[in-house]
């Protein structure tokens, strides 16, 4: 895939792997698009059937006129043919068994040889491939040779036996200049590095694990003093998610920028502590790389089904700030923003990524960094400020925005206060007084309103005249935009609003008010985003129409369009 990208052609790859370590089929889907569409397509143009087990399924996915490539070393049953698909057999196993020694090498090289064959069929640039191999195996030149040998083997076989290139070939272009191919977890980790996070605590869980891995690896390059070997960071592998969030809250309380990364089951386990963070007003940054629930669900598939459980995590009246990145670029941006927001608002902030964004490589514009960017540490009083203040109360709303001033341990006896998850007054003193409690809860609500004005606004694209709106979130974006183009072609123009944060801002309210009907596209069964919209804005749910796609695969434009069409058909009385 990377070779296509290097040739300057927009590309997107989705890896589908099972939740075990070895043995069950894995597949990898690549979309190459001259029009720069980066969502999943519904059918496959060129399919490489790697597993005899899934041959029939694979064949069924190919669009009419498409191509299927398979390993012809082993016979396949004739029943499994399709007239409308061009089936190309290459005896890859046989060839590799001859050319390479050792079981492992033979299996690996078979896959590499496929790439060679594909390169011939799609007219990929072999020089680009060689360069990529050299970069990948910089320290092991022998591997470069072996891989190249396999590539050429496949390339030669395909070139000799089939008419190459296919019509569906890849032409070099300039569309990828200034772009990178990166996954969202790596991008988020880079955001944490740039945000100056120093404490990371986590417990491994698919698909979030690579986020902390990437953070550690960035830190080992950018945060270690060369002379002394000393580290400007501390990453703790916790014993579970309850401990991970506890560590983050403890570190935030002590003044560090701290974060954790997890997925659904981890969020469930963190929910007691999330309520504690909300009520005691401690900053915390969480990344929830969502996977398919409920329970263990499909841990290697993607979904957006933790929206409600994150928004309202924990017992009692609680609400949490959520950010919804749509791609790795926003993972980077939102990661940085999350730390600023958490400290400004003194509350946990959850970045709601998902498996599709987090673990797949996406093409995105190169990240940028403005060195004048101001880090917002929020309202913190040090000894100098305390000198100037007559009477300070940890939970006093002196500025009218619902956000009180805090102090950090280790600095000044005048800043000492007691943080507790039980009832407390403006001076952080224990109380069971009902009026004081109610005022505290109302102030937290006022802070929530402040939050709505601080979080990233929605991405809104409005053309005067469209009566319907398409509201969506996160990784649905590309499919939504492509579906919108499709439907515009069917005289169903739609305005577009992609929500980027909770609480929702006035921009979103305005969009909803300006449209008679809005389709709400999200990846879950229960229409969780829609519920949240109705709950927060009190708008009539009849005006919101859910388009729900939740089979665990990234959303395709076709399924979005047909989801919307289904609604409009139902509108017409039978």
């Amino acid at each position: 895939m990377k070779s296509i990208f290097r040739m300057g052609v927009p590309v997107v790859g989705k890896n589908f792997f099972p939740s075990n370590i070895q043995g069950l089929p894995t597949w990898y889907e690549i979309r190459v698009s001259g029009e720069k569409h980066l969502a999943r397509r519904d059918g496959v143009d060129v399919m490489v059937a790697m597993n005899a087990q899934t041959y029939a399924e694979d064949l069924a996915c190919v669009v009419p006129g498409g191509v299927l490539i398979y390993d012809s070393t082993w016979p396949r049953s004739g029943e499994l043919d399709r007239d409308d698909v061009q089936v190309l057999g290459i005896p890859l196993s046989a060839m590799c068994n001859e050319a390479f020694d050792g079981v492992r090498a033979r299996i690996l090289m078979k896959n590499v040889a496929y790439v060679g064959a594909l390169a011939a069929l799609l007219d990929l640039d072999l020089a680009v491939i060689r360069q990529l191999l050299e970069e990948t195996f910089a320290s092991k030149p022998a591997l470069v040779e072996a891989n190249l040998k396999a590539i050429h083997m496949g390339h030669d076989y395909a070139s000799t036996h089939f008419a190459c290139p296919l019509t569906a070939r890849v032409e070099a272009a300039e569309d990828t200049a200034g772009h990178i191919m990166i996954d969202g977890n790596t991008a988020a980790a880079l955001g944490c590095l740039y945000a100056g996070a120093t404490v990371g605590a986590w417990y491994p869980i698919t698909p979030s694990t690579s986020l902390m891995d990437a953070f550690r690896s960035f830190c080992s390059r950018h945060r270690v003093d060369e002379a002394s070997g000393q580290r400007n960071y501390c990453v703790v592998q916790a014993e579970d998610e309850l401990a991970a969030i506890g560590m983050v809250l403890g570190a935030s309380w002590a003044g560090a920028r701290a974060f954790t990364a997890t997925s659904g089951p981890g969020i469930s386990l963190m929910s007691e502590f999330l309520g504690f963070g909300y009520f005691t007003e401690l900053p915390a940054v969480l990344f929830n790389v969502q996977r398919v629930g409920p329970s263990t669900g499909l841990p290697t598939r993607t979904q957006q089904a933790d929206i409600l459980s994150c928004a309202y995590a924990s017992h009692g009246d609680t609400r949490h700030v959520l950010l919804f990145p749509a791609n790795p670029g926003e993972c980077f941006e939102h990661a940085v923003a999350a730390f600023d927001l958490a400290e400004r608002l003194q509350t946990p902030v959850i970045v709601m990524s998902d498996l599709d964004i987090g673990m797949n490589d996406w093409m995105c514009p190169e990240f940028e960094w403005d060195d004048d960017r101001h880090f917002d540490r929020g309202k913190v009083l040090g000894p100098a400020e305390l000198d100037r203040i007559e009477e300070w109360g940890r939970y006093r709303d002196v500025d009218g925005d619902g956000i009180p001033w805090r102090t950090l341990p280790g600095q000044d006896v005048r800043g000492a206060y007691f943080t507790r998850g039980s009832g407390h007054d403006e001076f952080a003193r224990y109380t069971e007084n009902g009026d004081v409690y109610r005022e505290l809860m109302q102030r937290l609500d006022a802070k929530w309103k402040t939050a709505a004005g601080l979080v990233p606004g929605a991405e809104i694209d409005e053309h005067a005249g469209a009566a319907a709106g398409l509201v969506t979130v996160g990784s649905c974006a590309d499919a939504a935009l492509e579906a919108r183009e499709l439907l515009a072609g069917e005289s169903m123009p739609m305005d577009y609003c992609r929500i980027r944060a909770f609480p929702f801002g006035e921009d979103i309210r305005g969009f909803l008010e300006r449209h008679e009907v809005c389709y709400v596209l999200e990846q879950n069964r229960d229409g969780q985003l829609k519920s949240l919209i109705v709950n927060e804005f009190g708008i009539d749910p009849a005006r919101l129409r859910s388009v729900l796609i939740y089979d665990g695969l990234p959303v395709s434009a076709g399924s979005v369009a047909s989801g919307i069409r289904a609604w409009t058909k139902n509108e017409v009385p039978a």
Partner: protein, 351 residues
């Protein structure tokens, strides 16, 4: 009903420590625990220990879970930040605090329910990480705050106030700590301030995780005749295995000890612990041996107190992590950000 703060009366004649502070400066809010609760004696010992060590009050961080015991942080060093977390999860919060600011003197206070029931996992893992933390368990064998259920440290055969008999063997924090790898392990009794204060001082000075299991009777729910955690029972079966003197760095060891009787342990900051064993066979530097000895005495109904195990050479969490000397929390985020100049190089790998 708000929190009742203690009336503060400064006596000019009060003794001052090296910082010029009096014991009063190390006190906290007025206790709302039951009169006679062992936990209040622990508080008093903590005040004394912090004062004697002349720790700047703002450098103390007081952390706890939930329980009567976990209220203790409200009752000492009011000039320090305190945090009452959620039930059983103080170890993780303390880990985060210690990670963020290595200059803090973290004191974690927990109960037997808080540490050995709901908190068992976090308790063990904090010990394994060897973070720099003085960890006190105010151990009364019951859940005081929820009115007297058996906790995991309730002894087999002990009777609840309501008459129920506990059938399960106790989880002993000291044996658990020996298994989990803690590097400073002591047991004491809330009624023995003379033993407790030096242990606390040594624990505060130990670089790493220091556990003190303090038997601290609950007068309301577990101080009756058939309880093995009552004042009377504890006094009777209490057996100091090691007596300890704490000698601060600057001072010289002034008491004369008989040849062979005393064993000196030097801590990272130069303090000396002088251990005097009551039994020749006991070796507080040997984990395997300590377990055997303590367990055997427990089988005989005796619980040993004092500093039961110490490894003064152990490396604490930040040593293992090679963290910078300055507290992470004091590094400004913009000073940590690699900036725009580093970005092209980083992104080159994704091209």
């Amino acid at each position: 009903m708000s929190y009742i703060s203690k009336p503060r009366i400064d006596h000019p004649g009060l003794k001052q420590n090296a910082l010029g502070l009096t014991r009063r400066d190390y006190e906290g809010g007025m206790s709302t625990l039951c009169a006679g609760c062992g936990h209040d004696s622990v508080t008093a010992a903590l005040v004394q220990a912090c004062w004697e060590l002349a720790i700047p009050p703002e450098r103390v961080a007081k952390l706890s879970g939930i329980g009567c015991s976990s209220k203790t942080p409200a009752y000492f060093v009011s000039g320090a930040h305190g945090l009452n977390s959620v039930h059983g999860r103080m170890p993780s919060v303390a880990t985060g605090a210690a990670a963020a600011n290595r200059d803090l003197h973290c004191i974690g206070i927990s109960g037997d329910g808080d540490s050995l029931s709901i908190g068992m996992g976090q308790f063990c893992h904090a010990m394994r990480r060897n973070l720099d933390l003085l960890y006190l368990i105010e151990n009364n064998g019951v859940y005081g705050l929820t009115k007297g259920q058996f906790s995991a440290s309730a002894d087999r055969g002990t009777k609840a106030k309501k008459g129920e008999v506990n059938q399960q063997p106790p989880i002993d924090p000291v044996l658990t700590a020996l298994a989990a790898g803690a590097t400073f392990i002591a047991r004491s009794f809330s009624g023995d301030k003379a033993q407790l204060v030096p242990l606390m001082k040594a624990g505060l000075r130990h670089r790493g995780f220091a556990l003190i299991d303090v038997l601290s009777p609950c007068v309301t729910f577990n101080d009756h005749e058939d309880s093995t955690k009552s004042y009377a029972f504890t006094r009777q079966y209490y057996h100091p295995a090691v007596n300890m003197d704490f000698v601060p760095p600057a001072e010289e060891i002034r008491t004369a000890y008989d040849e062979g009787e005393a064993m000196e342990v030097r801590l990272h900051d130069g303090s000396e612990l002088v251990l005097r064993k009551t039994d020749e066979a006991y070796d507080p530097g040997n984990r395997a041996n300590a377990f055997q000895y303590i367990r055997q005495h427990l089988d005989q109904g005796e619980f040993l107190t004092g500093l039961l195990y110490v490894d003064p050479e152990s490396r604490e969490m930040h040593d293992l992590n090679q963290t910078v000397e300055r507290p992470l929390a004091s590094l400004a985020p913009d000073s940590l950000c690699p900036g725009s100049s580093a970005l092209p190089d980083i992104l080159a790998r994704y091209r």
